[in-house]
């Protein structure tokens, strides 16, 4: 069987500006593959290449063995697509919009109704009158209702409220169990860790790493801020595996730690100290870049995503 996605040395430049360069990765059948990077890293450019919207400068992207540019119409019959920025036809109602996109393929009406109900999408008003979140729900239903073997989702959870995000994660899990393959882009490391099996990390238009999510969890750092009733000795933290002291404030009453991997040894130590409060931050994408390119200077103002 052909792999859902194969990308080989894919490069796309926009005149002088950088797009993406020399991307290579494969997505295996039945996995949820996260495509992770900060805004402007080239995620949308990559998805546009996969969707045959723009032509590669060099290299090739294939979906189920078909060339994403040359065989674009055939490719799309295998893909359910959620765009990053959603612009639905304002003058149609939700139902008309779903009918329109459904009419191009054999879509399962029951599946569509089920999705509409789960996400609470409102089909009656003209789309122009809907809020951003409600438009997003319609777009999500549109992407999933075709029962396509591959889902390409560009920043799927942006615009959904937390309740709907949870619902969406659940639907993705079900899709995976039904053997579908999911490619999703995100700038949110914790989201990717929650739903993905494997992840490619992109920065400044290049792939930094392709990793299992568990491996990533050992690599990335989370910041912990701890408040003490009385000052503590700082050097004891540096001795713990995976922990580094980032700063200390108020004469050692407050410290900020970077924590990689298992936090257990740190928690053991903290249990014996006069802790009055602490916060544990979300996984930090920057820390992964620091890990992979501790010596390479990076350009913080990426400009590939438009």
């Amino acid at each position: 069987m052909q792999l859902p996605i194969v990308v080989e040395q894919l490069t796309r430049t926009y005149g002088q500006r950088r797009g993406v360069a020399d991307l290579s990765f494969q997505v295996e059948p039945g996995e949820v593959f996260g495509f992770l990077g900060p805004n402007g890293a080239g995620k949308s450019t990559t998805i546009r290449l996969l969707m045959g919207l723009i032509k590669p400068t060099s290299g090739v992207a294939r979906i189920f063995g078909l060339d994403c540019w040359d065989d674009a119409p055939a490719v799309k019959s295998f893909v359910g697509y959620l765009p990053g920025e959603i612009h639905l036809p304002d003058r149609m109602t939700g139902a008309e919009m779903l009918d329109f996109f459904g009419a191009f393929r054999n879509h399962d009406r029951r599946r569509r109704d089920e999705l509409v109900e789960r996400f609470g999408a409102d089909l009656r008003p003209k789309i122009g009158h809907l809020s951003k979140g409600n438009k997003q729900k319609l777009a999500v239903v549109q992407a999933l209702m075709h029962e396509a073997p591959l889902l390409i989702l560009d920043e799927p959870s942006s615009g959904l409220d937390p309740l709907m995000q949870a619902e969406f994660s659940e639907v993705l899990e079900e899709e995976r169990q039904r053997g579908r393959t999911v490619f999703l882009s995100s700038h949110d490391l914790s989201e990717v860790e929650r739903v993905a099996d494997r992840v490619a990390i992109i920065r400044d238009g290049r792939i930094v790493a392709v990793e299992q999510v568990e491996q990533l969890a050992r690599t990335r750092e989370r910041q912990m801020e701890v408040v003490f009733d009385q000052p503590v000795r700082l050097e004891q933290f540096d001795r713990i595996q995976g922990v580094r002291l980032i700063e200390s404030r108020r004469d050692g009453h407050v410290i900020v730690l970077g924590v990689r991997g298992n936090p257990k040894p740190l928690l053991k130590l903290l249990a014996e100290l006069p802790v009055s409060d602490f916060t544990y931050g979300p996984p930090d994408l920057e820390s992964i870049f620091l890990h992979y390119y501790s010596e390479t200077p990076v350009d913080p103002a990426g400009e590939a995503d438009r």
Binding site: L53, A72, P73, V75, Y81, L88, F101, A103, F104
Partner: protein, 266 residues
């Protein structure tokens, strides 16, 4: 072509099409309603016309106000009608590709499993049928209005008008779609298409007024269009009509080819 896309494109343009058809019909009827007062005082009008310089009369095709065809042709069909219908062609044509790109809806639009050229062709066909509706409404208005004032021109002339009207607008639709596909910005495509149309009109006037600039007529789509003659004695300038249609079709094919190859990106 994609049937699903065709139906949607036709629905999307429905309101615009009906307004243009309505406007064209109302204008034609108003001109026709004005005709009896001229018919009944032909002599004074002939004197008035004689006062105009010949060049002006020729430029605007005002050679004969005393007949129904001469009057309606000069006042409605020769200039105003093509400009109104061109307005529809430009509004719809310039949006075909550029509208989707500018709105940001192009990525979802192109996520369906149909070749780009088939999607665009469906939009073009929908626009052509929209034009046909405007043409038929106009011819219907002429028939009804003429009957009401006892000037029934006959089936032959009406049929000739029906054949003559679309040619010039097909050309305009062609370059509007081509500009839309090539430039990808709706306002620029529409502005250029309107500019080309008005320039073409200007060339036609200058060519008619001045012997020295008569060659400009070969650069004007209006030279190949004569609805007045069609209404007068069922004359159809087939060569001009075919050239207009061909230019339109060539532009449309070029638009399809360009759209197949371009980045679907603003």
């Amino acid at each position: 072509m994609s049937g699903v896309m065709f139906r949607q494109a036709f629905r999307d343009q429905r309101r615009t099409m009906l307004w243009f058809a309505f406007g064209a019909a109302v204008y034609v009827l108003a001109i026709i309603a004005f005709y009896p007062s001229i018919r009944d005082s032909t002599e004074q009008f002939e004197e008035l016309l004689d006062a105009y310089p010949d060049a002006i009369k020729e430029a605007f095709g005002i050679d004969d106000f005393s007949t129904f065809a001469g009057f309606v042709g000069a006042e409605a069909l020769n200039v105003i009608w093509p400009l109104v219908a061109a307005g529809f062609a430009i509004v719809v044509g310039s949006a075909a590709v550029a509208g989707e790109i500018e709105r940001g809806s192009v990525d979802l639009w192109l996520s369906v499993p149909v070749a780009r050229w088939r999607l665009l062709l469906a939009k073009i066909v929908a626009a052509l049928i929209g034009l046909l509706v405007i043409v038929m409404t106009t011819v219907g208005a002429i028939a009804v209005g003429a009957t009401a004032i006892d000037e029934w021109p006959g089936v032959g002339p009406l049929a000739a008008v029906l054949v003559t009207l679309p040619g010039i607008v097909v050309t305009v639709l062609g370059y509007a779609v081509l500009l839309s596909a090539a430039i990808g910005r709706r306002s620029v495509a529409a502005g250029l298409a309107a500019g080309i149309t008005l320039l073409s009109y200007l060339f036609w006037i200058i060519a008619n007024m001045s012997q020295d600039f008569n060659w400009l007529r070969y650069l004007s789509i209006f030279s190949a269009y004569d609805a007045q003659a069609a209404l007068a004695d069922a004359t159809v300038h087939w060569t001009g009509l075919i050239v207009l249609a061909l230019v339109g079709v060539v532009c449309m094919v070029a638009a399809l080819v360009i759209f197949e190859r371009r980045d679907a990106l603003a």
